[in-house]
Amino acid sequence: MGVMRIGHINLRVLDMDAALDHYENTMGLSRTDTDADGNVYLKCWDEWDKYSVILTEADTAGMNSIAFKVEKDADLDAFKKRITDYGVAVTDMPPGEMNACGRAIRFTLPSGHDMRLYAEKEFLGKAVGTLNPEPWPDETKGVKAHWLDHALLMCELNPEKGVNKVAENTKFMSEVLDFHLGEQVLVGPDGDIQAATWMFRTSTPHDIAFVGGPKMGLHHCAFFLDEWSDVLKAADIMAKRKVKIDVTPQRHGITRGSTIYFFDPSGNRNETFAGLGYLAQPDMPPITWTEENLWRGIFYHTGEEAGEFTSVYT
């Protein structure tokens, strides 16, 4: 019952051909559909549903919406009631309004991000199938991303004005959608301002994260790789293909993942994220990082801001 995992993300791109070259040839996703409006749908080889990324050509970059898959159709009614009771408006989406999906509900997070829940999406299958499968497919290109793993959304944080959309989102996600808090950063003179949170429904440390910034937006969406050696190889492929890398391979203290941050051709930040991190469970006590150790949490080795982590996002 409840939310299972991140289902898909809809990204705005400035140039569709350049975006497709990136997501297909660098990331290794494959195109599974194009709709009448020109939106392109893609999936990773290890995913079984029809798509996890929707690309929409637009004159700005960023995220249009993010969707999570719930286990049962009836969950949608239960969530609709809980979200409405919490005071957030819910819109019904009939089957097919989200391409190849059953009915869905949509609402706006306290931070302003558009979120959707759905229970059904057309099944295509993993590239290796389900009968005596090989461990990985031969035909996948680029870094061979396994699946869309998580997204980090930037939320307005302005303690002087009493605005903290990180805390508001976190409360909503935990009280209404039953997400669990894996890790958090607490800042401010009294160490009580929730400036960033990592939340999960799967058994990995995060399926979504919220970080405070001057305005809402998309910080990054992350694709899963098996292990550290894949991360290094992925960085080689990006260098060969002249992808703009923001932060070279290293480890996050928070979630323990090994990472690369880089940008798609429209400036949307992507991440390749490897490793389980640790087994996250509903009864696991949340981990807290203090303001002095914030950068150690984000970039564990140097403990300093790297790249343009806080200043650049779409």
């Binding site: 400035l14 140039d15 004159d59 700005t60 970059a61 960023g62 944080l157 302005n158 303690p159 950063v185 800042v187 401010g188 301002i193 400036a195 960033a196 970080v211 405070g212 910034g213 001057p214 703009k244 923001d246 940008f263 798609d264 051709p265 429209s266 400036g267 949307n268 930040r269 303001e291 914030l294 343009e308 806080t310 200043s311 650049v312 996002y313 779409t314």
Partner: protein, 108 residues
């Protein structure tokens, strides 16, 4: 490969930039701290400049950061502008601010 000469009005510095190279990539080679090298894709808006003199060719850039009116006046994202002559530019917005950023709450 002949390079156009780019002059940063704010600092008086100059650098070379070929026609097929964008103004940001070449500027980053100056190696000076404080040049915000963001997404290099015209999406994040961090590299906004004003080209006050010279001709250039632009690729698609986010309208969230540069209006078509601004673009017509030479206010562009450096990572999406390719010089076709010598160019004089001023740095704007975040480009300016990035150097003297102050934080009270860790992240903001």
């Amino acid at each position: 490969m002949t390079k156009n000469v780019v002059t940063i009005l704010d600092t008086g510095e100059t650098y070379g930039c070929a026609r097929e190279e964008n103004l940001l990539d070449a500027m980053v080679r100056l190696g000076r701290k404080g040049i915000p090298s963001g997404c290099h894709g015209g999406g994040c808006g961090v590299c906004k400049i004003h080209i006050v003199d010279g001709t250039w060719r632009g690729k698609t850039m986010s309208r969230e950061h540069v209006s078509s009116d601004e673009e017509a006046r030479g206010i562009v994202l450096a990572c999406r502008a390719y010089p076709s002559s010598d160019v004089t530019l001023k740095v704007l917005g975040k480009m300016k601010k990035a150097v003297c950023r102050e934080r009270k709450y860790g992240l903001v």
